[in-house]
């Protein structure tokens, strides 16, 4: 039986693929995690945009029920754990945006070109996204904010 020279091992190619795979695998995982991170971040962005819209639609029917708007936003995005809904605000203004009055303290008495006086609610919903990996150069806690504004005939 021929005794194998121990240097023969260096020329042995069995398992080379495995070694190469082992080298390349972390890169694959890294790319995959990158894709997952992007997808999750976009999902969150879409989710909070939906929450802001839900709150705004509720607000368009109940412009001075700011507590109700907050609940509407929270109900729309129950699976966003750190959803933060800024206290919604409302006001009234002429339809061209002039003479805005917060909380409709002073109803505009006259508007240019016979425009209507309308109510408007403003919603701002935000949530923090923490990526799976701390990607270099990226903020580890990304804050997504979605604003929505909707008009209403009044309270």
């Amino acid at each position: 039986m021929k005794r194998r020279n121990r240097f023969d091992l260096l020329g042995e190619e069995c398992g080379a693929s495995l070694v190469e795979l082992a080298l390349i695998f972390p890169l694959f995982v890294l790319i995959l995690l990158g894709a997952v991170d992007f997808a999750r971040a976009y999902y969150l962005a879409t989710e909070i945009a939906g929450a802001a819209q839900a709150a705004a639609i509720y607000g368009s029917e109940n412009p001075n029920d700011t507590a109700g708007m907050t609940v509407a936003a929270q109900d729309d995005a129950p699976n966003v754990p750190n959803l933060s809904v800024q206290t919604p605000t409302y006001g009234c203004e002429c339809a061209d945006g002039s003479s805005y009055s917060a909380s409709c303290a002073v109803t505009p008495t006259s508007c240019p070109n016979s425009l209507n006086v309308i109510y408007r609610v403003n919603i701002s919903v935000s949530a923090t996204y923490t990526p799976i990996l701390p990607w270099p150069g990226m903020n580890y806690n990304m804050k997504f904010t979605s604003n929505a504004s909707m008009r209403s005939a009044g309270s």
Binding site: S17, I24, F28, D96, S114, S152
Partner: protein
């Protein structure tokens, strides 16, 4: 041919192929995510603009107009979807592709064709936003498909419709009585409401033998059917048999009215106690008017801005003989005070204009701003009528006349008051005109909401 058996570097080839696929997947995740998010934002903005446009439908006379365009453009800015003003294109039923954010407004939605249940309904505004969204990577992938331009741009479209929604779902009729609290303090209150219903956004109290004929009778608070358990006769136009509780709240349908501007002093403003046979002229009355007993006073058609009450004593008559329709009607706007009838022997026969002459006063007969909390008492004879809307967002309407009152002899009427109290065996008739029929621009006591 040994090269075919040589396995060295096989993994490199495999890896580079897989890497390409993985990178492609990631590129797609980013592109699709980005487009989805933008589409979501566009939809919210379209909803916002549609509501803004719908609120101007009455102002524009059920078509598109400059005011509607201004409102919708402003709504996009308020929604922060864009920082530059987007000038809409009116009445366009096909959606062209546009590189920048573009907006179409149709009154009478038409983009979906006749499949749309609201197609052509000019009480509904449709807004379409369209924008070409750049993709980051899809363009590169496109090259592999032999398309040299690639999918470098995606055309996004968001559409929304808004219009008048009625509190009673599935009903095409609105409220002719909208109030925050309603109280029947006497038996035999008899209300007949045609083509419309009652919305009470608060508590309701009824008494024995009150009866109501209406399309619906909704309340949001608690109902106290005083002495009336099972014995009141409720005749409702739909399947309901009695006032029904609702959790759906409705905002004040007339809150969007454009306030009037104060006119110059009336030439007869100094005549605060007119004699029998006098005719008062429209304009500003700093001190209101008192009709002493048994005088008959005529109001010339026009806009009356009262800074004090109009008191009508027993046997007196307040009429408008020149109120023939169109701009020939009276609007009594009470900055302070209200219309007070002090006896059931008074006669009030007034008709509102059907075309606005000052602010949104079309169909407005008695109008108080929300800063005026003066209540109005109707205590008058059965020949009295109020053709037009009584709007007192912060005032109480009290019915004290046993003989009966008809609000709206000619077809357009509504009562929108903070509180509504019925103190006598009242006969009260209100008729509303269904949208789109008979009278031009009838007041529709629905509320504005997104429909699609």
């Amino acid at each position: 041919m040994r090269i075919f058996n040589d396995e060295s570097g096989a993994m490199t080839i495999l890896s580079s192929l897989s890497l390409g696929v993985l990178m492609g997947a990631m590129a797609l995740a980013i592109d699709v995510g980005n487009i989805h998010t933008r589409q979501r934002q566009l939809q919210t903005a379209a909803d916002s603009a549609a509501l803004a446009a719908a609120l101007e439908i009455g102002n524009c006379g059920n078509t598109t107009c400059a005011n509607m365009n201004t409102a919708a453009s402003k709504a996009l800015l308020e929604d922060e979807i864009t920082s530059s003003t987007v000038t809409p294109t009116d009445s366009q039923c096909t959606v062209p592709s546009s590189t920048t954010l573009a907006m179409i407004i149709n009154v009478g939605p038409c983009v979906l064709g006749t499949n749309d249940p609201n197609h052509g309904n000019n009480n509904v505004a449709e807004v379409v936003l369209t924008e070409s969204q750049n993709t980051f990577f899809a363009g590169m992938i496109g090259i592999f498909y032999g398309n040299s331009a690639g999918i470098s741009k995606m055309n996004l479209i968001a559409r929304a419709e808004a219009g008048e929604a009625y509190i009673q779902s599935g009903s095409s009729v609105g409220d002719c009585i909208y109030t925050k609290s309603m109280e029947f303090n006497s038996s035999n209150g008899n209300f007949t409401l045609t083509n419309c219903g009652i919305y009470d956004g608060g508590n309701l109290q009824t008494d024995n033998d009150d009866s109501t004929t209406a399309s619906f009778f909704l309340y949001t608070g608690t109902w106290n059917p005083n002495n009336c358990n099972g014995s009141c006769s409720w005749t409702l136009g739909d399947s309901e048999t009695q006032p029904s509780h609702t959790t759906a709240t409705q905002s004040d349908p007339l809150a969007g009215l454009t306030a009037p501007t104060q006119p110059a002093n009336s030439t007869t403003a100094g005549n605060t106690t007119p004699n029998n046979g006098a005719t008062l002229q429209p304009g500003y009355y700093p001190n209101g008017v008192n009709l002493n007993s048994n005088v008959s006073v005529n109001l010339a058609p026009g806009f009356y801005w009262m800074n004090g009450s109009i008191n009508v004593d027993s046997g007196s008559t307040l009429t408008c003989t020149g109120c023939t329709g169109g701009t020939n009607g009276v609007t009594l706007y009470f900055a302070n005070g209200s219309l007070q009838m002090n006896s059931n022997s008074t006669t009030i026969q007034l008709t509102a204009p059907t075309v606005s002459t000052n602010g949104s006063n079309a169909n407005m007969l008695i109008w108080e701003p929300s800063t005026n909390s003066s209540g109005m008492t109707i205590d008058t004879s059965s020949s009295s009528y109020f053709t037009g809307t009584i709007y007192m967002p912060n005032g109480e309407l009290t019915l004290n006349s046993g003989a009966g009152v008809t609000i709206n002899a000619a077809g357009v009427a509504a009562v929108d008051v903070a509180n509504f109290m019925v103190n006598d065996s009242e006969h009260f008739n209100v008729t509303a005109v269904l949208p789109g029929t008979a009278v031009a621009n009838p007041p529709k006591l629905g509320t504005f909401a997104l429909l699609e």
